[in-house]
Each structure stands twice: as structure tokens, then as C-alpha cells.
């Protein structure tokens, strides 16, 4: 991957991390509030960081 010439703004840098953090927190709490559908949603949300990792690994330079 090449270095970008124009630096990214903090908003750009933290957009994805913020999204993942929100998904994680919502996933953790939703699982606490019930069984069944809520558990399933919690698994999906908590799997998101791992999916992102796998994608980054597949695109590694």
C-alpha cells in the first residue's frame, strides 16, 4: 500500500474504529438483554471486528 500524499482528518481516521466500537458495545449489551434473536444479533455484531480483521489480512501488502 502506498502512502497517501494528503493526510487524512481525524474524522476519517476514526470512522471505522468508531463504527466497530459501537457494534461491539451494542453487541455486548444486546446479548445481555435477552435470549434467542438478541443472542443472534449479539453474535453478528461481535463477529464484525473479526470479519474486518480477516478482510485486512486478505488484502495485506
Amino acid at each position: 500500500m502506498t502512502l497517501r500524499r494528503r493526510p487524512r482528518s481525524p474524522a476519517q481516521i476514526f470512522a471505522m474504529p468508531l463504527l466497530l466500537a459501537i457494534a461491539t458495545i451494542v453487541g455486548l449489551v444486546v446479548g445481555l438483554t435477552g435470549e434467542g434473536f438478541r443472542d443472534g444479533l449479539s453474535w453478528l455484531l461481535l463477529a464484525l471486528p473479526l470479519v474486518v480483521l480477516a478482510a485486512a489480512w486478505a488484502r495485506r501488502g
Binding site: 474504529p17 445481555l32 435477552g34 471486528p49 474486518v52 480483521l53
Partner: protein
């Protein structure tokens, strides 16, 4: 971000990391099998929850007095300390000890089937899982060990915060998810450390913070006992502690407690004289009646001699926070898939710690400026220096 502030945050990140990494590695490694302790215990035939059939012990079965008599017959000369119920199986446990205020290592845990009234013998224990749990909780150092690990949890949180601050200058010219594995080893470690750290960040913050809260559980319970229980049982202040031979019927006590908190399921009874009650009361702890509040316990204090209700009050906010933090630390509230995710994120944390350690151990000689430059240039210190 100026290179001066990068330098400051780098210093915070370096030292909070150095201080906590070895402890955190130990916690992550011992925590990994502990996530699956139910499954591991089932494999070794120690999981009575899965094998006993019948009404859950929290709902019914043989009378509590009969179960307690059975337990005391197995431990002559001792006194009862706790009786705990299962929400899913007839398993009922009784903890005994040489005296009402016996410390944890003098207690004996006995298992019973409340449906049949059969004794299942002493709880299996002393195995590898117990060893790991002890290491994970206090490193065999008791309360000071718990405080030390709790403190390390706080230092770990500081490392996470400073890591996020340094993520910004590092990623200024890099796209999210950058992993440069084809160049130098150091660059590869840096990218892995940054990516794994930021991706698992929220999970690490939650598990780190809830772990730190749990480390201070004992003083929080002691404070509840000193303030709240003392206030609720003010009428008994100055009386001699109730001797065990005058303990009254548990079934009558449970009936009074359930009348005070109807519709809730009991989790355990703390006997008089221990850390969870007064010197004259059975404290019957009930779960909340919704999924969210089932981790929150509310005690009903029952006069242990007469079996009548003395008082019932919600636990203070700090104790409620402690109770809510437990499932968030253990990851045991969403079935096996949640445990597997917990394990994967735990391994990710181990890798963040390991690459962080490597980055520090294998740093090339040179002033701190080189590392500050490395951060501000997205890892390419040499290309720019």
C-alpha cells in the same frame, strides 16, 4: 499532533505497556480456558447442571431444611455458610465451614440433587481449572493479589487510551486496515499491533474495566455489609451473634422472603455471621425477573431464629455495577458462539500484547525521537529520517 505531544503519549503508552503486559499476558492465557469452563467440566463428567433432570432447585423439590440436615450430617461439627440454587437443574449446593466467619480456604462445598434429596458428595475441585482461576483472580496472593491485578487492569486501560491517541498520527497517511507484511518485520509488527488494537479496542476496554471492577468486589461487599446491612438490622445492634443451634427453619425463612419479593427466583441464602449477612439473619438473595436484571441480586433479610422478614432493599448502585460487570467479563451469557467470539478476541488481545512486547524488545538503538518519528510517519522512520 505535534511531535512533543506524540512524545508524551508515546511515553505513557510505553510505560503503561511495560508495567502491565506480563500480567495481562498471564490473564489472557489463563482466561482463555476459563471461558470454556462449563464445557471442560462437562467433558470431565463434573457438570451436574447438564446431567441432573427435574425441577430446578430454585423453584422446588425436597424441603430446604431436609437438604440442610443432609449437608450438616456430612460435615459434623461445622456450621452452614451458604446454600445456593440452580435456575436450570435440581443441583443445590451447601457451603460449610468451621465457624460462621470462616475464610474461603476453610470452606467445603457440597453438592445435592434437590429433586431426589440425594447427596452428590463434595464439589469436584482442586483440578487444573481451579488452579487457573486462582491464578487469574489473585495469583495465590489473596486480597493483595486481587488489588494488584485490578491495578494492572487500570494500567491496561491507560495503555489502551494512549494507544488510541497514537493511532491518529500513525494512520494519518495510511488507509484503515493497512497491513504491510512484505517489508521489514518491525513494520509488520507495527501494523498488526495497530490494526488488532483498534479493532478489538471496545472489547478490551469492556473486559479490562469489568475485570478491574471485579478485583475490588470483596471491599464492595464489605462496605455494603457495614453500611446497608447495619442500617437494615439496626434493631439487632448490640445483641450477641445468633449461635448456629438456634437457627430456625429455612423453609419458613424462604416463604417469608418470597412473600416480600414475589415472582423472583432465589439464587442463594447467606447464613448469619458471614460476609453476606448480619449476625442474626438469613440473607436470601433473589435475581431480577427480566433478562437484563437477572444478574442483579436483591436480598431479603430474614430473622434466622423466627423466620420473619426484617427488611429488603435494593443493593447500592456500586454493588449493582459490580454484579452487571460479571457477565460482561466472563462472556457466559450468550451461548457457545459468544464464548467462541470471546476466545477469538482474547487471542487478538494476546497478539496485541505480544507484538507490543516485540516492538519494545527489538527496538533499534537510538533516541526516543526515532520511535516518535516512526509513529508520525506511519512506521517509516528510516525512509524519512
Amino acid at each position: 499532533m505535534t511531535s512533543g505531544s506524540i512524545r508524551t503519549w508515546y511515553w505513557v503508552h510505553k510505560w503503561s505497556g511495560i508495567l502491565s503486559t506480563l500480567f495481562l499476558l498471564m490473564l489472557c492465557l489463563t482466561g482463555l480456558p476459563l471461558i470454556f469452563h462449563d464445557e471442560i467440566e462437562a467433558l470431565t463428567g463434573e457438570d451436574y447442571e447438564a446431567t441432573l433432570a427435574g425441577t430446578p432447585s430454585a423453584e422446588g423439590g425436597q424441603p430446604l431444611d431436609a437438604m440442610l440436615n443432609l449437608a450438616m450430617a456430612e460435615r459434623p461439627g461445622e456450621v452452614p455458610l451458604f446454600m445456593a440454587f440452580s435456575q436450570t437443574s435440581p443441583l443445590l449446593t451447601v457451603t460449610t465451614g468451621p465457624s460462621p466467619d470462616a475464610p474461603g480456604d476453610r470452606m467445603t462445598l457440597l453438592f445435592f440433587d434437590r429433586a431426589t434429596g440425594r447427596s452428590l458428595g463434595p464439589a469436584p475441585g482442586g483440578g487444573v481449572m481451579d488452579f487457573l482461576l486462582q491464578l487469574h483472580t489473585d495469583m495465590f496472593l489473596g486480597l493483595p493479589g486481587m488489588f494488584l491485578l485490578g491495578g494492572m487492569g487500570v494500567v491496561f486501560l491507560l495503555a489502551l487510551v494512549s494507544g488510541v491517541v497514537l493511532y491518529a498520527p500513525f494512520m494519518r497517511r495510511l488507509g484503515f486496515g493497512t497491513l504491510r507484511t512484505g517489508r521489514s518485520k518491525r513494520l509488520s509488527w507495527l501494523d498488526q499491533h495497530n490494526l488488532l488494537g483498534i479493532v478489538a479496542l471496545a472489547w478490551m476496554v469492556v473486559v479490562g474495566a469489568t475485570g478491574a471492577i471485579n478485583a475490588f468486589a470483596d471491599p464492595m461487599v464489605a462496605s455494603w455489609q457495614e453500611r446497608e446491612v447495619a442500617r437494615m438490622t439496626a434493631a439487632y445492634a448490640g445483641l450477641d451473634p445468633l449461635p448456629p443451634e438456634r437457627y430456625g427453619s429455612l423453609d419458613r425463612a424462604m416463604a417469608s422472603a418470597q412473600a416480600a419479593l414475589p415472582g423472583r427466583s432465589p439464587q442463594f441464602i447467606a447464613f448469619p455471621g458471614g460476609a453476606w449477612s448480619s449476625a442474626h439473619h438469613y440473607a436470601v438473595f433473589f435475581q431480577g425477573d427480566t433478562p437484563l436484571t437477572q444478574h442483579l441480586l436483591t436480598p431479603a433479610l430474614i430473622d434466622a431464629e423466627s423466620g420473619g422478614l426484617t427488611d429488603s432493599r435494593e443493593m447500592p448502585v456500586i454493588n449493582q455495577a459490580l454484579m452487571m460487570s460479571k457477565p460482561l467479563h466472563f462472556g457466559d451469557y450468550g451461548g457457545l458462539p459468544l464464548k467462541l467470539l470471546w476466545a477469538a478476541l482474547d487471542v487478538a488481545t494476546i497478539w496485541v500484547l505480544w507484538t507490543g512486547l516485540l516492538l519494545w524488545l527489538r527496538r533499534r538503538p537510538g533516541a526516543v525521537d526515532r520511535r516518535v518519528m516512526e509513529i508520525s510517519q506511519g512506521g517509516l522512520a528510516d525512509a524519512r529520517a
